[in-house]
Amino acid sequence: MSEQAMKSYDDLAPSATDKFRQRVLPFIVMIVLLAAIPLFDPSRTMNSLIAAMGINIVFALSYNMLLGRAGLLSFGHAVYFGLGGYAVLHAMNAIGAGSSGFWAGFPVFMLPVIGFGAGALAGVVIGWPSCKRSGVPFAMISLGVAELVASAGYMFGSIFGGEMGVTSDRMVGPRLFGLSMGPVEDIYWFIAFWTFLGTLGIYAFTRTPLGKMSEATRDNPERVQFVGYNPDRVRYLVFIFAGAFAGLAGGMSAVNYEIFTPESLSLAPSGLVLLMAYIGGIRYFTGPIMGAVLLTYMQSMLSDYSEAWLLYLGLLFIAIVMYAPGGVAGIVYGLLGILRRGGTDGVLARRAKQAAGVALAFTGLVILVEIAVRWSNGYGEVFEPFGLHLGIDTPLSWFLIAGFFAAGFGVLRMAREIEEGHG
């Protein structure tokens, strides 16, 4: 008996190497990556894009604390992002105005802390009624709350600045780390610092007893009651933290763009963060990061090349919901798993076939959509990829579309037959 009491069961936990590989290494890689980016002297466009990605990474991760980890589908997460951002802007203005007092000594670099607090406070207030329910009712409450807060945003001009929003100047207050916070290069370090801290913080949260119980509550709220936890309470606390980290992201955004408008509280940005998290993969910690990077890139770059980018986004989302609920991360890790196992059983070949089929069909779809968009705009612009002239009345267009679709679905069918043959 005494022997058993002495036993530590340390071997139950993952080995030190595993721990390092799974928990520490990714963050070291992240630090190295963040430190290395400036060495490549990114253009200002790139810098702006990276800043947007950093903000969205923290925002999407905070959203996944709800959807992925606690099983709460929210249509109003931008509320906390926005309130955090507004709080930071007001604080920034106070720093700019105040020659003495608390704000005078507050460095702009540290402002996301204020966003964190404001997001948490909003979570405390709004979460209290919302978290009494879960599932679809919770989703509906979040939708109603988002509409209400957004409307209030337009009503209370002194806080939200009406549709013009609240603006500020970040080059105020004491400097930290010698950063003037003016040029984009300074802002890079600010974004990098807080993206890292936000990611680390959210990851650390998943490792706490509360974080673990939030997953337990997602899986089985009934059982959670019989290990001594109140599921409503677990959800409420997680909700507050999700709001807080969203507020942190909002604070980063406030410093980066120096503006917030009531529209940033509304359903549209809440929907976008949902898309980011889900497309990235809500079952993986890294999923929302991938989703945020991908969607931010699409939003700021793809929208320059194609007017129909929202259509592609919708298609991508539906494809993920229907065929790859694990999201991009699920696909990536699936492939890595196959590669690690050596891919000897022909899985790799099958996946390659599927990818080829999807790519072919998608190419056909892109041609169809792009031709349709130009035709619909009606001022005679013609889709001309690779020097081809693809008009709506060009037979080649339709030949290509039909060809790509036929080839794509043909390959997909082949892949499926192989799979069924295996199964």
Binding site: Q4, K7, S8, Y9, D10, L12, A13, K19, A204, F205, R207, T208, P209, L210, G211, K212, M213, E215, A216, R218, D219, N220, E222, R223, V224, Q225, F226, V227, G228, Y229, N230, R233, V234, L237, F241
Partner: protein, 261 residues
């Protein structure tokens, strides 16, 4: 006379016009192993749900030691030292076996809703989790996702989670349902070991199990306890035999169990 570990008085539950539990009285001495048997639909699971706080009784009182627990939410009752298992496996399917047990351990070791500690660094939690896994024989499957466990192992895990919090009063709802003979034997041994020194109420259809484990048995029929006594008394009670007349299987089982003794 010592205070009963669990004391039920005049417990009633109506669902609409239907009276499912109609006045149950029951006292359990500390350390007692009590089995509740009865035909299907007698209200055994409802009784468990009432005691554990999942349902609110229409009338009556349930005392855990000296404390009245009617009206308290389940998690509070659990913290006061009453734990239960479920008839269908009710585990955290997306977690590993170890994490499942750890969820059961956390609160009792005072970690509640804490968000400032890393679970990996809570040595007391690791130790307790390991102990429980070892005592139920799941140590070698600790890293497996719970959903991939065999049925019998899931039932074992269910019991492990139930006892993990160290509750003094344990309610087990058909722990061996659906198990093979050998699995059942192992489960019985496990239950005996895991609940040593605790007060146990068990709902069970397998009369072998019941007569093996129980110090006393209550027979619940149509929401009422028609008899309570030692296994011998129950076996000989004519009312019990009568009540089971409609349920041939159970009667045979009862007889068989009697012969086995």
């Amino acid at each position: 006379m010592t205070t009963p570990a669990l004391s039920i008085r005049g417990l009633k539950k109506n669902f609409g016009p239907a009276e499912i539990i109609c006045g149950v009285d029951l006292d359990l001495a500390p350390g007692e192993r009590h089995a509740i048997i009865g035909p299907n639909g007698a209200g055994k699971s409802t009784l468990f749900n009432l005691i554990s706080g999942l349902y609110q009784p229409t009338a009556g009182s349930v005392k855990l030691g000296d404390e009245e627990i009617v009206g308290l939410p389940p998690h509070v009752i659990n913290r006061m030292g009453l734990s239960r298992s479920f008839q269908v496996s009710n585990i955290f399917a997306n977690m590993s076996v170890r994490e499942n047990v750890r969820c059961g351990v956390l609160y009792s070791l005072g970690h509640g809703y804490s968000f400032w500690r890393n679970v990996g660094n809570l040595h007391e939690v690791q130790r307790k989790t390991g102990e429980i896994l070892e005592s139920v024989g799941l140590l070698d499957k600790a890293q497996m996702p719970a959903a991939l466990l065999s049925y019998a192992d899931q039932r074992t895990l269910e019991i492990a989670i139930t006892i993990a919090g160290g509750a003094d009063v344990v309610l087990l709802d058909e722990p061996t349902a659906g198990m093979s003979h050998s699995e059942t034997d192992r489960a019985v041994a496990l239950i005996e070991k895991a609940t040593a020194g605790k007060t146990l109420i068990i709902v069970e259809h397998d009369m072998g199990v019941v007569f093996n484990i129980a110090d006393r048995i209550s027979v619940l029929v149509y929401g009422q306890i028609i008899a309570t006594g030692t296994p011998e008394e129950i076996r000989g009670d004519p009312r019990v035999r009568e009540a089971y007349l409609g349920d041939g299987d159970e009667q045979q089982a009862l007889a068989a169990a009697g012969d086995a003794q």
